[in-house]
């Protein structure tokens, strides 16, 4: 087909250009026909070729061959055209297919989009359906309450009663409203709190500014306190420190202070020691003990593996740890009328759970001069046997035995001089009671019940020892100090006199006498009384609990031979005269004259003995050494012919008992 293209040129001429468009031709031709044509053409060609061949082989005319060539060429052209057409058809077909495909693709795409969108929408829908609105988590007030409380513009009952959605919305509104209100309140309260806080701070500052002022006042008031003897400051400080005391010491402090306030103004209690250490101790008491035992175990293990030589050192350390004292200690002072003071220092051994005591005596006057009295105020033995048989050498806590075995301590007595004496009365004052089943409780009542008695005994002990000290210094000067209240026990004239007063040791005493009445804790003395050629040796046993327990005298006389209380009845009677009659000899309370009265009576008895001895004989011997000066009713009585040793006052004669 020909098409006309109109080409516009510059000189505006319109040319017609004819274009041959074969494609349009395609639509008109039938492919089947074309195919037949092709077959025909091919057949013609084949035929012509064959003819050419034939002609060529036969040598035919080139015109026919050319004719045939021309026909072949035509056929070739037809074939070419057919080829072209076929190609064109193919192309067209392809194009059509392509187009259709494209159309289908577009549609497919659209479909997919739509499907995708549908899915998306479905998801959205399901999401929406699953959506849990936060409003459901809010606890709303119940509907009744809501309708009751909410104002009408929020609750809108006419709408909300029918419509759930509206109801919920209304309720949410109401909730919001309420919350807003509460938030307001909260803010206000916060603001108030802040204000109050500030006010408190101010006041605190004010108070702390007062503190220095108060301190000054306290300091200034100290002299006033002392003047009025109301030591509040001291007591407060003491109470502060007392909180860190271990329980037994605390009990002792409380009871002693109470007793001092109530009954005995001369008793005072102080706490001494390191408070910080005590605080450190009280902070972790169990830990430290566990640590000790753990570290002990570890150390032991290590040691047995490595070196054996230091086991002793380890043991020593363990012992020291076991015998550790609490850093705080109590000091109790007992003042006596003559100005001397008995200081008692109480310590608490933590691991052994016992109390120990050390003593010190400070006297108003200087107490030197009495050689024999050296032992009397010795702090080691001053408090021996305050109660009978309370020697204070062994620990009264039966559980300690097992502890000692672990660290190889055989007896506590070795450590007593270091650590103090664990007397039973000390434990009782601290409220520690060690009954046989080992129950140990800190008991206030125990301390209270023993306090008074023990304090009295302590004071009595100190006074007795001081009195003895004075008496000894005069005894050593051969003067028997007899007080005026006791003069009535003795006649006016006593000729025998004390010439010597010395101390003896326990071993020397056992040579002199074997009796079951003495023990190692007693004090031993030797007194010598003389008259003329007669010498009376008296071994004296002084129990630590003098003057509750009478001193005992054992006599032996050196005069014309040696006689002793073992062998002669009269000396025995003298011994009983001096040893037995406590009620007469002890003098006025508290009986501190006992020893001196006994010695004086001994002199009197010696006088009687010597003077009546010569009476026995008929007097045919010559001048008697000791003339009779005493008045006696009878000089001998009874089968044992005892002498009259009893002095009767005020008649002044001697008789038998």
């Amino acid at each position: 087909m020909l098409f006309c293209l109109k080409v516009k040129k510059n000189n505006s001429e319109l040319h017609e250009v004819r274009v041959y468009n074969e494609e349009v031709e395609l639509e008109d031709r039938d492919p089947q026909q074309d195919y037949m044509l092709y077959k025909d053409t091919c057949a013609d060609l084949a035929k012509l070729m064959a003819e050419i061949q034939e002609l060529k082989s036969s040598g035919a005319k080139s015109v026919e061959i050319e004719e045939r060539h021309r026909q072949c060429s035509v056929h070739f052209i037809t074939l070419k055209k057919l080829n072209r057409l076929a190609h064109m058809r193919l192309k067209k077909g392809r194009d059509q297919t392509h187009e259709a495909k494209q159309r289908v693709d577009v549609l497919h795409l659209q479909l997919q989009n739509l499907l995708y969108e549908v899915m998306h929408l479905q998801k959205e829908i399901s999401k929406c359906l699953e959506f849990k609105s936060q409003h459901e988590e809010i606890e709303l007030v119940s509907e009744e309450e809501f309708f009751q409380e909410a104002p009408a513009e929020i609750s809108r009952p006419h709408v909300t009663r029918d419509d759930n959605h509206q109801l919920t919305l209304a309720r949410l509104d109401w909730e919001l409203e309420q919350r807003k209100r509460l938030a307001e309140q909260y803010k206000m309260s916060l603001a108030r709190k802040e204000k109050i806080q500030k006010a408190i701070e101010q006041k605190r500052e004010y108070l702390s500014s007062l503190q220095p002022g108060l301190q000054n006042i306290m300091q200034a008031s100290l002299p006033v306190q002392e003047y009025l003897s109301m030591p509040f400051e001291q007591m407060q400080k003491q109470a502060e420190v007392a909180r860190h005391l271990p329980p037994p010491l605390y009990v002792l402090l409380v009871q002693a202070a109470a007793y001092g306030q109530a009954c005995d103004k001369t008793l005072s209690v102080n706490i001494s020691g390191d408070v910080d250490e005590a605080k450190a101790l009280s902070r972790r008491p169990e830990d430290s003990q566990e640590d000790e035992s753990d570290s002990d175990a570890e150390e032991e293990q290590q040691n047995t593996k490595r070196r054996r030589a230091t086991v002793g050192v380890q043991l020593e350390d363990k012992r020291k740890a076991m015998l550790r004292r609490h850093p705080l200690s109590l000091c109790v002072d007992l003042k006596c009328k003559d100005g001397s003071v008995l200081h008692l220092f109480f310590y608490y051994l933590m691991n052994l759970n016992i109390l120990t005591v050390k003593t010190k005596v400070s006297t108003a006057t200087d107490l030197s001069g009495a050689v024999s009295a050296g032992e009397l105020l010795n702090s080691e033995s001053l408090l021996n046997c305050l109660y009978a048989s309370d020697h204070g050498k062994e620990t009264p806590n039966p559980a300690n035995r097992y502890q000692f075995d672990k660290v190889g301590i055989t007896t506590f007595a070795d450590y007593v001089s270091d650590l103090g004496h664990p007397y039973v009365w000390v434990q009782k004052l601290g409220g520690l009671q060690f009954s046989s089943d080992g129950a140990q409780n800190v008991i206030f009542a125990l301390s209270a019940s023993h306090m008074e008695k023990t304090m009295k005994l302590l004071r009595g002990r100190l006074q007795a020892r001081l009195a003895l000290h004075k008496q000894f210094s005069s005894l050593e000067h051969s003067i028997i100090p007899v007080s005026s209240e006791c003069q009535h026990l003795f006649p006016a004239k006593v000729v025998s006199g004390l010439t010597r007063w010395t101390m003896m040791s326990y071993q020397e005493f056992t040579h002199v006498l074997k009796a079951g009445l003495v023990c190692e804790t007693d004090l031993f003395f030797m007194a010598v009384v003389e008259r003329g050629t007669a010498r009376l040796l008296a071994a004296v046993v002084l129990n630590p609990r003098y003057p509750e327990v009478m001193p005992l005298f054992s006599l032996s006389l050196h005069w014309k031979g040696e006689r002793s209380g073992r062998t002669e009845d009269n000396l025995r009677a003298m011994e009983s005269e001096v040893n037995v009659f406590r009620a007469e000899l002890q003098g006025p309370r508290p009986g501190l004259q006992l020893l001196t009265n006994q010695i004086q009576r001994l002199c009197v008895c010696l006088d009687v003995y010597l003077e009546t001895e010569s009476q026995v004989c008929d007097g045919s011997e010559g001048p008697r050494e000791f003339p009779r000066e005493k008045m006696c009713l009878r000089t001998a009585r009874g089968p044992s012919r005892l002498k009259p040793f009893k002095y009767n006052h005020p008649q002044g004669f001697f008789s038998h008992r």
């Binding site: 025995r572 026995v616 008929d618 009874g638 044992s640 038998h656 008992r657």
Partner: protein
Amino acid sequence: MSVFSQSFSPCGRFLAAGNNYGEIALFSLSAALSPDASEGSQKPILNFTAHDGPVFSLLSTDTHLLSAGNGEISAWSWAELIKKFIDLMLFFSIFSQDNSLIVGGGDNNIHIMDMETGIFKSVLKGHTDYIHCLCFKEREEEILSGGEDGAVRIWDSRTNRPVHCIEVFKYEECARPQFGKWISCLATDSDWMLCGGGPSLSLWHLRSMSPTSVFPLPGCQREAVFHQDLIMSVGEGPYVSHCLHGGTVKAQIPCTPSSLNTLALNLKNTEHRVMTVGGSSHQIDVFTNFSYRAFSLSF
């Protein structure tokens, strides 16, 4: 403590001892002598304070125990306790015979009292110093008394008159002037008499009134008894002396107290036939066989 006197009960099963504090203790001999005796059976079963002063003398009658203290005689029923008071100063010896009690006193006289009525029947005067000891001769019914004045007086109990007076210290064999003249022990056995004290212990024949033998005992004797063929005496020195009539000291048995005041023989009871001695000690020695000390009771 010194034990001054002892006395056995009528049945012989108990021993009463008196000490210088005025206490009387009762010991059960049957318990102490039984085979399973323990420490406890040597302690007194009863201990009471009878007098203010020492109990120098104890005497047993059939029903009563008589004790002499300072100024009083007390009679204790062996079953119950009864007291009778007599106010005389000191007594050193009591002796009973047919219901009359013969008391030698510190007032230098001898008093005879009727025990049933408690009335003093008579007084025998003669001594110049207090009386230490008394004894009774049953056959002739004579009372012998020895005193501080060194005289042994013999009295007739029916007529209450002095019969004889022997001043022992005047006899040279017996006299020991270094001790004194007092007579502190007396014992009779029909014709024989023992006396001693300041002078040595001597055996006298009463008919001839002369000493037949003198015993060389060092201390002063405080009590002596006749027992079968022996004479046993105690005094100063921690032993019991066994002597023969001839004048020899056969044995000296040691005992606990350093000097002895009293010796008693329990002859009434054959089961508990013992000798007990007491003196200047709280222990009373018991001799089951008279040759050695068996055990001691403690007062």
